[in-house]
Amino acid sequence: MFGWEFPPHIAGGLGTACYGMTKGLAENDVDVLFVMPHASGDEDESAVKIINASDVVPLTTSDNVEEFLGKVKFVHIDSNLIPYADPSEFKKIVTEERKRQVKDFRVQFGQKYNFSGKYGANLMEEVARYAITGGTIALEHKDEFDVIHAHDWLTYLAGIAAKELTGKPLVVHVHATSFDRSSEDKIDTRVYALEKKGMDAADTVITVSDLTKNIVVNKYGINPAKVVTLHNAVDFSGKETIHVERGVQDKVVTFLGRVTFQKGPEYFIEAAAKVLKRLDNVRFVMAGSGDMLNRCILRAAKLGISDRFHFTGFLRGREVSEMFALSDVYVMPSISEPFGISPLEAMQISVPTIISKQSGVAEVLKYAIKVDFWDIDAMADAIYSILTQPALSKFSAEQGYEEVNTLKWVNAAAKLKVIYENTVNAAQK
């Protein structure tokens, strides 16, 4: 299995999903060799064997990447692509990466390459190097696995390389697509090309929701017969319960996530303004940072609701849990969300949750309140009802808690095992 990150060092949901998935697979008697670009050594290896690509010497040098990979054709790759950074972070990252690159360029291909394993400015270069090292690793462990599983576009090249070199079938797992990262006319074509290359080369494509499956079929032109939806699950074991003393007596309605176009922060503000016209004992919080933040702050000021609409900026680890614990309603108004794990976190601590119908998680949740992201009246209505109807908020909290606890990785992994078996069988025919 090729991943990019693994807890505890994670930047997004991908690492968490990989962790839960590998644990679930172990419970279903599937052994996993997990390859990641940069392991720190403190990863939980109870259910998985981790191979650190930074420790591996590739078989060959840069000049004959294509020779080495045989049939695999690599596009030329530029660096300085940052998928998850907003402009304010960009400058900092570029400066840091420049320093790093100067040092790293002295290290030639053919030696160990110290991957950052992050989402930095030389991401594309790392992706290419990861493919070379990944292929090497696959060759070394040729007799230990039956199927290759690659998570998201960052690892697709490594997956393809491994397939070409070993002949084993490839499963690519689509956690997000370029279309979820930016609006349609602004997608990064280099990333799109890599994504499509991975999906085309794969024997089976797994998507985290039917919503994502549609995108894969319609926007990437992938044969629907080889695309399977496998919904994510959640693992809350060992998660401490946080009790936070509330400073305000008012009810708190929370938006938590990157403040970017795809997350629909503007709809949350408009709905908030509508609710605030009717209720005065409620506060809205927008927790997170992103390229839409300043626009949102201005909009809230323009609507004259800034005394009741608060911005926290980017929250880390424990602050996120505290924010959930302080909330009476959690709203995820995403315009496009392949899955969306955060509503599950809210439900797990009994916070009534409103999600957009345009999120993958809406496919698995029966009890969450669902609205169209653009329907601010419905959103305002739902918020208002939860705040004013104790029966509804109690029901929503209790059912949500029950429901979220049925979404276990062990069950999802059992389905994954079947997908593996089908893929291997089909490949042998």
Partner: protein, 399 residues
């Protein structure tokens, strides 16, 4: 009759807010960044207030009372002197005792109360007058509004409070073809005399003194006096108004600003053709040459010389509106601690930090701004304001 030079220096330090997060609302009602406030105040006291006061005291004593100057010191600054640098108060007191220094009246908190609430405006002006009398033993008779903000309606309020002289900006849009170098009067209250800042001559010192790119650099006392004389060849009075921090803080001591100023004063007094006057003396000595009409407020800030540095975007308008909405409940609660926090939240600086006019006057703005972006300033301020309004509400409930 000799022509006049009127010098006035503004002394103000805001009480800067600490990083106040959403999580603090309702839990912690200390809003101020004590460390930063103390650090900045001590620095400015060492570099500016103390050496500049010593210079003025020397000039007054050496010239046997012929050198005169005026100060306006905000209550926010006085509070911080009292707390962090009492030596500064003592040195201002020595200046007051020479009888050659006039202390002006302003809003205690260096606020925009004149634009927000007449009741609060009067309250802050009275509070400031009491503080000046307490520290310096004099009762102010001349008014200068925050950032020299002036309009017809403000002039009416000021006159009603008993002032006969007021300072403002010699802005083009109220003067048109007229010269700022005369005494004028309010069109609504002809008995309220106006002294208008000569912004060219003032900014030559305050902004341009050490600017090596300026074609008049370096500025010598002789050159500057020739400009003043040139202005006074036809006109009555040159009003040179600026931030006191010009001396040693904005213009470093190494730029020669202190020596320049001493040379300027000594040379003027040596030639003895022009005399120094305080604002109150100026309006007694020179009679008004006409009305000034100002329907919209003017100020001494930026190229626009209007109020857009404080109330120029949605963020600022929302914050300002939300703050002054609290006045009614504050009056009901009538709690000293709440009034004090309200006062500090009304300091104009907080709105200034939210200014988005980055491109024209951004250099000056960023110099005075502890926040990276106007948005951060706004978020922080609104979080503080939320906690504050909760406290007001609580108090009202108890009444």
């Amino acid at each position: 009759m000799k022509k006049s030079i009127c010098l006035y220096f503004q002394v103000h330090q805001p009480l800067r807010l600490r990083l106040y997060r959403f999580f603090d609302i309702g839990k912690d009602s200390h809003y101020y960044d004590d460390f930063t406030n103390r650090t900045i105040l001590s620095r400015v006291a060492e570099k500016c207030y103390l050496p500049a006061n010593a210079m003025l005291e020397e000039l007054i004593k050496a010239n046997k009372g012929r050198f005169k100057v005026a100060f306006s010191i905000s209550g926010s600054a006085l509070e911080q002197f009292d707390r962090y640098a009492p030596k500064v108060i003592a040195s201002f007191k020595r200046l007051a005792d020479t009888g050659c220094v006039e202390f002006l009246s302003e809003t205690y908190y260096h606020s925009l109360a004149a634009l927000g609430s007449e009741q609060e405006f009067k309250h802050q002006v009275e509070k400031h007058a009491q503080a000046i009398e307490y520290y310096f033993g004099v009762k102010p008779v001349t008014f200068r509004n925050t950032e020299l903000i002036y309009s017809d309606s403000i002039s009416a309020m000021v006159y009603e409070l008993g002032f006969k002289t007021m300072l403002s900006e010699g802005a083009r849009h109220i003067l048109a073809w007229k010269s700022p170098n005369f005494v004028y009067n309010s069109c609504l209250q002809p008995k309220l005399k106006l002294l208008l800042r000569n912004y060219t001559l003032s900014d030559d010192i305050a902004f341009r003194f050490s600017d090596k790119g300026w074609n008049e650099h370096p500025l010598t006392a002789e050159k500057y006096i020739s400009w003043v004389k040139n202005a006074l060849s036809t006109d009555d009075i040159v009003n040179i108004f600026m931030d006191y921090e010009t001396f040693g803080e904005h213009q470093k001591a190494s730029s020669g600003i202190f020596d320049f100023f001493k040379a300027f004063v000594n040379q003027v007094l040596y030639e003895n053709s022009i005399e120094f006057v305080t604002p109150a003396q100026a309006t007694k000595k020179h009679s008004s040459v006409g009305d000034i009409e100002a329907t919209d407020p003017v100020s001494w800030a930026d190229e626009e010389r209007d109020i857009s540095a404080w109330l120029g975007n949605d963020l600022q308008n929302d914050a300002f509106g939300k703050l002054y909405d609290l006045i009614e409940n504050l009056s009901i609660a009538n709690d000293e601690g709440l009034w004090s926090d309200f006062g500090h939240l009304s300091e104009s600086d907080h709105l200034y930090y939210m200014c988005t006019k980055f491109f024209s006057d951004g250099a000056v703005h960023s110099y005075f701004n502890p926040y990276d972006t106007p948005y951060e300033a706004f978020i922080n301020y609104m979080n503080v304001l939320s906690d504050f309004s909760l406290r007001v509400k609580e108090k009202v409930k108890l009444k």
